[in-house]
């Protein structure tokens, strides 16, 4: 199989044959026909363009965040990249394979984690799901053991292997799912909302694991998320999709600039006071002793906090990151003006 030899090659530090683009989309389209009931038996047909002339490439070893509001076409893209859905038009290649035509051949070379749909066996101990992967993907014994040991160590699964999956917490299950997707040495890993619903500790574990995986194995990672921190901590590149086409493709800092992103500092004062006056920030909301201040996403919160603490009776504070919906909304607003 390709996977074993290529993975071995990567372990020895050899680069696989140079490919300019590992994932390649050229004017890919996906049109759905939606039928809507308009009467007792009458139906109205309407075409919905879920993905519209989408073109991008991802190089081997890149880690890319793929974001956008609900219904923007994220999942549709991932489904076309994994061969679940057949594109209506355009050209699409993953590792040189046309996913729609050679779905099963591609399956051996990709890993997929669907955030909210576990592929683990509910009533069986975690290890049983891994044994199934071992046999279904025909992973050579030595590789399977090495990969499993590595995942168990880095994702801290040792105590969970003999626990039935139904007894695992959401975070534990997500780590279990990620390990299951990696046992066959996929060259690319698709993650759909890998940190959704996880607590802070679990999120940190998942993120650091993905970072190591990408750095050490050179696994290409494409992740969709609603959590900008996932992107901030993991991805050098972010793509924003909305209404089926690419709105932005570049580094995250650029996205903030493009959207004039702002973070929010929430401060609790000892008592109700008039809006705080400090440079580089403006009060956007006041509710009793609590005030919300917006400041540029590129700037640091520390000097701002220091200045406020100097002059106001500060009790508590927190910093809120802009969410993706807000950033994208701002992008639209910016576009409309320019």
């Amino acid at each position: 199989m390709v996977t074993a030899t290529e993975a071995a090659a990567r372990d020895e530090g050899e680069e696989p044959p140079a490919e300019s683009a590992f994932i390649e989309l050229d004017r890919v389209e996906k049109v759905f026909e939606v039928r809507r009931k308009t009467g007792f038996l009458r139906r109205e047909r309407r075409q919905v363009r879920a993905v519209d002339a989408l073109s991008f490439t991802v190089a081997r070893g890149e880690m890319v965040g793929y974001i956008g509001p609900n219904g923007a076409g994220k999942s549709t893209t991932i489904k076309m990249l994994t061969g679940i859905l057949t594109p209506s038009g355009g050209r699409l290649r993953v590792a040189g394979i046309d996913p729609a035509r050679e779905r099963t051949r591609l399956a051996r070379r990709i890993g997929v984690v669907f955030g909210q749909r576990t592929t683990l066996w509910w009533d069986l101990p975690l290890i049983d799901s891994y044994r199934l992967m071992h046999r279904m993907y025909r992973i050579p014994d030595a590789r399977y053991r090495a990969n499993l040991d590595r995942c168990v160590e880095l994702l801290e699964l040792a105590d969970l292997l003999d626990v039935p999956v139904r007894q695992l917490s959401l975070g534990q299950r997500m780590r279990g799912d990620i390990a299951a997707a990696l046992l066959h040495d996929p060259e690319v890993l698709y993650l759909d909302e890998p940190t959704i619903g996880l607590d802070v500790v679990s999120k940190a574990k998942v993120r650091s694991f993905l970072r190591d995986l990408n750095a050490e194995r050179g696994t290409t990672v494409l992740l969709t998320t609603h959590d900008l921190q996932d992107i901030e901590q993991l991805c050098s590149r972010v793509m924003v999709i909305d209404h089926g086409s690419l709105m932005y493709d570049g580094p995250l800092t650029g996205l903030h600039e493009a959207a004039e992103g702002e973070r929010t500092l929430v401060v609790d004062l000892e008592r109700e006071l008039p809006p705080i006056e400090v440079p580089d920030a403006r009060v956007v909301r006041v509710e009793g002793p609590r005030q919300w201040l917006a400041f540029p996403a590129g700037g640091s919160a520390a000097p701002l906090v220091a200045r406020i603490a100097e002059r106001y009776p500060l009790v508590d504070l927190s910093v809120r990151e802009p969410d993706i919906e807000a950033v994208i909304a701002k992008m639209y607003a910016g576009k409309a003006v320019s």
Partner: protein, 272 residues
Amino acid sequence: MADHRLGEALRAYRLIAGMWVRSTMAYRASFVMTTFGNFAATALDFVAILLMFSRVGALGGYPLPEVAFLYALTSISFGLADLAIGSMDRLGRRVRDGTLDTLLVRPAPVLAQVAADRFALRRLGRVTQGALVLGWALTRLDVEWTPDKLLLMPVAMVSGCGIFCAVFVAGAAFQFVAQDASEVQNAFTYGGTTLLQYPPTVFAKELLRGVTFVLPLAFVNWLPALYVLGRPYPLDLPRWTAFAPPLVALACCALAGTAWRVGLRSYRSTGS
């Protein structure tokens, strides 16, 4: 190439069915109870027939052992099909909740994965009670056994299983289009086997034509059984049709396979 794909499919089926058996064994007591329940519930069908015979001496001209013979053949054929791929009617649910996608990213044929879904050994209950009824019927039947009759029995059971499997697969394929159609499928599978438990003489001609030429359930047990019993065929069909079940089963499976591919292709182009 075709051999290779079939081998892959069977291997995937075995792997996944094995996982379901292990899952079931996580709840042993429940497994024992549901297996017994399956046996008892399906046996009630036969009890119903026994009750009828407590009032009448024959049904459509058939005495009890002959009806039992019909009953046993279809129970075994349907039971085997139900055991093998009886949970395919869950496909609609998998399409609705999106879990079908998790099967599509595996390096194994989707049909094999869906067929093995929720594989349940408790379904052996129906096969077991069908076999018991068959044993009893054989001791009571007044049949002159010849080699061709002896050979026809296992051939008919396997072919009947094939025909029911085709109905299951075609029904599942339909669920790609109509996700809540599992009851329609049940009408043909569970409904079909109930129909076949009774002699064809009790049904109207139109129905007989339907289950002979449209959905060829008549080939599951009626034609081979009537040949064995030396009874006249429904619709004046020629004698040799008793040996047609293997061909009918192959044709049904081929059609169902095509329906499945069309269904899957439509799913992959619409996503729902």
